[in-house]
Symmetry: C2
Subunit: 214 residues, 2 copies
């Protein structure tokens, strides 16, 4: 782990330019079927995560917080052909569990958490005809003081939102694409076997936040 | 990319000891419900992968080849509690497509492709009562000379086998856990946007191979 360095060593997708890109807060219009100019979206988020700790138990925790996502210039001014690349540049979510105590989730600075919004190759029957798919690969740190550990994922957590009709997909439900279990390691001993597993993650992307509430 | 270095910079799980671990070839018994001593399994594999190339088309290709997987000392001598960690140390699969030509898949040396076999937290109704789940996070290179490109994945491909009743799970079907699309980048321009996507992957783990057929 090299959390102290400023450049991530694990890069999950294209780096999105931050220079001169304006922050977007509460009051920013979200226009359906329209690729927006680049921006840094400051959005609410909440999620329900389930953690399995082998030999101890399985715990479901509700988290609430915010994210900052930078969006690229769309590849096309028309919605149908536009792709937008995203980087998750900051995150803070806090959850409380009787057994695990207070858990704080932030980004792992070792990773560039990156994603994209594009037209899927397999449109679902239930989706609008021009709906897009949003996906992001994320490296997190779960600080669990009661366990005396900061947990992190070596495989990215793939967060997805389907049926995307606006950018950002504010207010949309999403899912962490976890198949049965995703290993979590202890940052103090990253080379060792996993100490816990994420077994489920569902989230809701919130709307734009006030600058003051970040 | 630093494919020339011998130590991987992206590590998907615990490194498994290779020193003194024997190679296992055709004739090695596979004993159900029994954690085996450490070994390097030389196994056949075949898979059916679908690639989407934006603006060009979607192509399904059948691959055939082999893998070498090193297994750790089981954490328990009894099947029920045993966990086994694995590293995919070598792979070669070749497939042919009319449109994409011959495609050769090997491991990305930048990544330590790693996984594990353990009792799942969510046993399926259809699985044996003591069946385990096998998963591995893999970094690949898809050499596609007809495209003039070597493609690689920045997010690991998660290969899973369910209902595992022996180690190795020789002869078992498995799946790449791809949700809609997994981006593939061009090794010549790793910082650029993806040039293709893996949209589906199904595989069959074969049995032990003769040394001569590797």
């Amino acid at each position: 782990m090299s959390a102290a360095t400023s450049e991530p060593t694990i890069v999950y997708g294209p780096k999105v330019n931050l220079d001169g890109v304006p922050n977007k807060y509460a009051g920013t219009p979200v226009v359906p079927w329209t690729p927006p100019e680049p921006g840094i979206d400051n959005l609410g988020i909440n999620s329900i995560d389930t953690f399995a700790v082998p030999g101890v138990g399985e715990y479901t925790v509700a988290f609430d917080g915010w994210v900052r996502v930078v969006r690229s210039e769309p590849t096309d001014s028309e919605w149908a052909g536009a792709e937008v690349y995203t980087n998750l540049i900051e995150m803070k979510m806090v959850g409380h569990s009787e057994e695990l105590g207070t858990i704080t989730v932030t980004l792992n600075p070792t990773c560039l958490s990156a994603g994209q919004i594009r037209t899927p190759f397999d449109p679902y029957a239930g989706e609008g005809p021009s709906a897009k798919a949003c996906r992001m690969a994320v490296g997190c740190i779960f600080d669990v003081p009661k366990m005396g550990m900061k947990l992190f994922n070596k495989e990215p957590i793939i967060l997805t939102i389907d049926d995307v009709r606006s950018i950002p997909p504010a207010g949309a439900p999403g899912k962490g694409q976890i198949y049965r279990m995703l290993p979590l390691s202890d940052m103090a001993h990253p080379e060792r076997e996993p100490v816990a597993y994420l077994t489920s993650l569902r989230f809701n992307m919130g709307g734009y936040l006030d600058k003051e509430s970040m």
